[in-house]
Amino acid sequence: MNSILRLDGLDKRFGGVVAADNITFSVNPGTVHGLIGPNGAGKSTLMNLISGIYTPDKGKVFFDEKDITDVPPYERARMGIARTFQAPRFLQRSNIRDNLLLGSDLVDQHSYFKSFFSKQGRNFESELQKFMKMADFEIDLDDDISSLTYGHRKLLEIIRSMLAHPRVMLVDEPAAGLNNKEIDNAMALLNMAANEYGIGVLLIEHSMDMIMHICEDIVVISFGKVIATGKPKEIASNPEVITAYLGRDTDD
């Protein structure tokens, strides 16, 4: 199977700190990949390198086998790389509809001029209904975004990414701050994205429960280096991973 996203030897330094050191791995369509590692391992840096917020010092990013290393972030989003943030980022003073339309705008890709004269968000509500069933809570599109709970906002950010019809989704800690029911809903959404829409999902998460449950493939990084890749079972029993997470005994 051809990968949809491929990182080839990415290096990124901030002063003396090595945030990414020769990172190489790929994301396949229709698959949920887990990206795990201790705090400060460079997971978020990697997200920023993929979405184009940072440019790597060395190495290349390929999307659909096209070199996108020099493509600006907004072009990458238009090509089909969607992203959610650790803390959901919405238009605080707008209603839910406007916030979700920001996602579906990427499907139409109308110019500002054309958008001025056309109907906003075609097919958007039927699609949304389908996603909301997975998310399992009710919204009124005319309500302010701030009327939602934190958990619901996080779920809605995943939905906004899905409304953009991406081919790759970068999902940053969706489970943090969610209750158990909401975590199940988030997993249902991500499974739907991968299985039904063939999206390649790259999932950063600290909840091992969630990672082991839905990831087909896991990449472990520590101090900016890939230290292991493999199926969940292999990763769980990998001694290097256990050391990275629990620390090495100094007497050793």
Binding site: S51, G52, I53, P72, P73, Y74, E75, A77, R78, A82, R83, F85, R89, F90, L91, Q92, R93, S94, D98, L101, L102, G103, D105, L106, D108, Q109, H110, Y112, S115, F116, Q120, E125, L128, Q129, M132, E138, I139, D140, L141, D142, A164
Partner: protein
Amino acid sequence: MKNTKKVLIKPSTIILLVACALFIVFIPLRYSGYNLMLYNTALIYAIVVFGLSLMLGMGGQLTFAGLAFMGAGTFYVANLCSGRWGFWVNNSLALITTPIVTGLLGFLIGSVLLKLKGTYFTFSTIALVQVAYSFYQNSRPISGGPDGISNIAPLRILGFEFNNYKRWFYLLVVLVIIVALIIERIRRTRFGRSLAAIRDNETAALTLGINVYRTKVIAFAITAMLGGLAGGLYAMQGRFAGSDMFTFERSTLFIIMGMIGGINNTFGVVIGSILVAMLPEWLRSLQRYLQLIYGLSVIVLMIFMPMGLAGIGSEMCKRIKRKITGIHAKKALEEAKK
């Protein structure tokens, strides 16, 4: 999703429309001559403040530049319609081309200034206003220098001459409504959403496929278009163009208009513009304290109601709505108990 009953027109909208209708009918009946001209000028200011509303209200970019483009529009029309260059251009043609010319100018200048971000961009627009002012003051061939340009031909559209302030009032009301509708439409389209995304978080905007720089430049160009249009109207109504109008102090007045009215609210922009423009007339006896009153009212508003007077209005509407839904819920609960 909840199926909420869609109310076709909200009661608050009806109140505002009635207020507008009263304003349109009442003002030209009550006032004439100089006083009516002041209202006309306030409406011209509102067009400039709409540009600011787009940049600052929707996009979160504070700019002082509107006035510089208003000056460009004023002198563009003044030169073409006063015959001082040896020729006359049909003045409705001159007026229609003004926003196009100043818009292009704004696009070029914006492309440079918006390489700067946040406060640095704001400072560069202050510099632009200062440079433009001293240019308008000193460049005789373009602005007539300290004498200004007089004898601008009166506006005539399809044979109908706008030769008194009453006619100007109706023309300006129509133009303000058109601009307001365009701004309201922009708010609901991809451009408006993109600006709002930039205001709230530029990084998130980028990952939503928004070309942040280009979006800001387009917004800046539209600000310049509106400034230019207002300038052209200003020159034609007064039939005189002088550089005194385009000082930095005046551009801070536009910011105050937006802030007091409510920078992200279309009605607020108009209310703020009229209020601030008319205040010197209404408080003639307190002339000395005018700046103090402006300053204090902005401070008080920013502390208690950062969304301006329009913010107070919409907050009150929300409270009433909540109260009504609260009463309904109580009734439903009581009925359920029975």
